[in-house]
């Protein structure tokens, strides 16, 4: 038996058992033939998916692991915990049970993911604390080494980690020390990035390592030019660039650049790459660079204006790309109308370069310039059921209302949530003595208690 699910394990099945023994132990056990080749292929596909989704440097870690270098890539998902949550949720969605850990070294993350259920983030200075209590198997050693170490009285990683190295090495060979160093980050462990064979890719190897930003910029331009040549012959435009710089100490510095539209303009690609040079730490130098268009789409030239003398719409895609690569693509958007009367739901974020719809919000109803994220409760004096308040107190300031307009009654959207079945809000636009205008509402219609609490809130400011 090479693997079993949680239910089988709960009934007593163990990896390494003979299949017949497991069948005898558990009636009705579903036994399938192991397919190591298929598993490895599936893991490679998963690594490729992770490369597209999360970070340019991903590696399948057989038999059951996936290593992702999230350096400089986690913030695009909203930080490391958010990245782990997203990864777990997506794997869950396709029926894969997973355990994810982010750590300063691959060795530490590997160990904690498999041997501790209570930790998913390892701080840079927390490697020792995280690893010490773990059994020796967590170090990725050959199967017989932990047995031998146990015989000598070493039970946990903490027991061997701080021992003098020489006697251990004499007795058990270099492997133990190497794995310890990898886990503690004393020696590097390069990932071999997974790559799809059909990806347009160019490479440059340097006889002398390079490191100066100007040199990097020059070769970024050279790579972009070569890549654009490849894209041109295939009629493609890049939607995403992965620029990998292999350092002499075997670490990979990865830069990922996204584009809102397919592009194969050397100048634009070079500009986007050179914007990111400050994130590359060249260390002792870079001796190899690859540039790949890991996502590419068909791109065919078309005339910019259909008629002579026609007004050419300004092209803002370059600006959008530059900004998106600086602050993250999800923080650049347009707001488009949604068919909903509830103000919070009347806007929707769409991609900045999505096609204009020509649809706008109805101009008939006043809407405030600033809409508060959460309506704030206010104290009011108002006549029920449908008069505007005469006074209200907000954030400790009492304001007398001089003029008011309303109510604009907005009904809950029962189609979305059951709780809104009978909910009603009555909105009033009011102006105080100084001329400042506010958007107030009463939860409920002023008569029927099932429509709301009849409390007053302020929801926005008019300009």
């Amino acid at each position: 038996m090479t693997a079993c699910n949680a239910a089988a394990a709960g009934s007593g099945a163990r990896v390494g058992m003979a299949a017949t023994q497991a069948q005898a132990l558990i009636p009705g056990l579903d036994v399938r033939d192991a397919d190591p080749h298929g598993d490895a292929e599936a893991l490679d596909r998963l690594a490729l998916w992770a490369m597209h989704r999360y970070a340019p440097v991903c590696q399948a870690d057989p038999p059951d692991g996936l290593a992702i270098d999230v350096t400089g890539a986690a913030h695009l998902q909203g930080g490391e915990p958010a990245l782990l949550r997203d990864l777990a949720a997506r794997l869950q969605g396709v029926g894969v049970t997973s355990r994810g850990v982010v750590g300063p070294t691959l060795g530490a993350a590997h160990a904690v993911a498999r041997f501790r259920a209570d930790q998913s983030l390892i701080a840079d200075d927390g490697v020792d604390a995280a690893l010490s209590p773990l059994p020796l198997e967590a170090l990725r050693l050959p199967a017989d080494l932990p047995v031998g170490l146990r015989r000598m009285g070493f039970e946990r990683i903490g027991d061997v980690a701080h021992r003098p190295r020489a006697p251990l090495q004499l007795r058990f060979g270099a492997e133990l020390g190497r794995r310890l160093d990898q886990a503690y980050g004393r020696s590097g462990e390069p990932l071999i990035p997974v790559e799809a064979p059909e990806t347009p890719r160019v490479e440059r190897v340097f006889a002398e390592p390079i490191g100066a930003p100007e040199t990097l910029a020059r070769y970024a331009g050279a790579l972009a030019e070569a890549l654009c040549g490849q894209l041109e012959t295939r009629g493609l435009g890049a939607r995403r660039l992965d620029w990998l710089c292999y350092r002499v100490d075997n670490r990979i510095e990865a830069v990922r650049v996204g584009l809102a539209q397919p592009v194969r303009d050397v100048r634009r690609l070079t500009r986007l790459l050179t914007d990111k040079i400050e994130t590359i730490a060249p260390g002792f130098g870079i001796d190899r660079m690859t540039l790949a268009a890991s996502a590419a789409e068909p791109l065919n030239w078309r005339p910019a204006a259909a008629r002579l003398g026609a007004e050419v719409a300004p092209d803002v895609s370059m600006l959008v790309d530059t900004l998106a690569n600086r602050i993250g693509a999800d923080r650049l958007y347009r707001l488009s109308p949604v068919e909903s009367d509830v103000p919070e739901r009347s806007t929707r974020k769409v991609a900045p370069l999505s096609a204009p719809t020509g649809v706008s919000w109805t101009p008939d109803w006043p809407r405030p310039t600033r809409l508060f994220r959460k309506p704030e409760p206010i104290e009011t004096i108002a006549l029920l059921p449908d008069n505007p308040p005469t006074h209200f107190t907000w954030r400790g300031v009492r304001r007398r209302i001089r003029r008011a307009d309303g109510p604009e009654r907005i009904f809950g959207e029962w189609g979305r949530r059951d709780a809104e079945m009978r909910a009603v809000r009555d909105y009033f636009q009011v102006e105080d003595d100084a001329g400042e205008r506010f958007w107030l509402f009463r939860a409920g219609d002023g008569e029927d208690a099932t429509t709301g609490s009849q409390a007053w809130f302020i929801h926005g400011r008019f300009g």
Binding site: P314, D315, V316, M318, L319, V320, T322, L323, R326, I327, R331, L332, Y333, R334, L335, S336, P337, P343, S346, T347, P352, P356, T357, G358, V359, S360, W361, P363, D364, W365, P366, R367, P368, T369, R370, L371, F372, R373, P388, R402, R403, A404, D405, G406, P407, E408, Q429, V430, E431, D433, A434, G435, E436, R437, G460, R461, F462, G463
Partner: protein
């Protein structure tokens, strides 16, 4: 003699203007189409290819509603897409569309910190294909504003810094000098009473606090209409009260 002297001054002024605009693209001005306001501005309107500062007065220094709408009214009257840089996502897009700035024209940039915000603002100004760039910020240093002003001059795009602070006390920062071409303060004024219950068009006190090449002035004007235009209040224009025009309102 006074005539000769004033001619001499005019000559000098023209020379200074030529010096100032040596490496600037001649892009002209955007008139407000309110005679009194345009007369107070050099060139008869708001200079394009320059940085302008707008802040709200009173409570609006924190709320930032009138100032944002004033800025929206300006960029709405220029053709092309608009970049709007924000840090707090509380701007309500339907209101901008009511001021003439439709949803297809505005690209929002939500920058995390001031540094990224200024970088986005400057990048937008340098691009040159936009109608204008609006940036909501609390801090605007001399160095930053000079960079922005130079970027705007090079591309001919108008830059509007909507100054908005977290606390009312911080609004004193608005007195600090910057390289912006003009500085405006927009505050709410009580609107004209309607003959029926309800609310009429909002009214603003618009203060031109500082303007390169012109004197400070202040105006009381009706707020932006559906096309982003300001207007002289009807009673101040010495006309009879205009019949209620514009949008249909909810009946009280």
């Amino acid at each position: 003699m006074p005539a000769a002297r004033s001619a001499h001054f005019e000559d000098l002024r023209a020379k200074v203007r030529a010096l100032e605009q040596a490496d600037r693209r001649a892009v002209g001005v955007l008139p407000f189409e309110v005679a009194r306001l345009d007369a107070a501005l050099p060139g008869g309107g708001l200079a394009l290819g320059a940085l302008h500062e707008v802040a709200g007065g009173g409570d609006d220094a924190v709320g930032g509603a009138a100032a944002a709408l004033f800025a929206a009214g300006i960029v709405a009257r220029l053709p092309g897409p608009v970049l709007w840089c924000i840090t707090r996502p509380d701007l309500f897009a339907p209101a901008l569309s009511h001021a003439g700035l439709g949803p297809d024209r505005v690209i929002y940039v939500e920058a995390g910190d001031e540094k990224a915000l200024m970088a986005c603002f400057e990048e937008g100004l340098r691009h040159g294909g936009l109608a204008g760039v609006v940036c909501e910020t609390s801090r605007l240093t001399m160095t930053a504003s000079r960079r922005l002003q130079l970027a705007a001059e090079a591309s001919g795009v108008i830059g509007l810094a909507v100054r908005r602070w977290r606390r009312a006390a911080e609004a004193a920062d608005f007195g600090q000098p910057t390289a912006a071409a003009t500085r405006w303060r927009v505050s709410a004024e009580p609107s004209a009473p309607l003959p029926v219950p309800g609310i009429g068009r909002a009214r603003w006190r618009i203060e031109l606090m500082r303007c390169r090449g012109a004197d400070a002035a202040d105006f009381i004007l009706d707020a932006c209409d559906e096309t982003g235009r300001l207007a002289l209040p009807a009673e101040l224009a010495r006309r009879s009260v205009a019949p209620p025009v514009g949008r249909r309102r909810a009946a009280a």
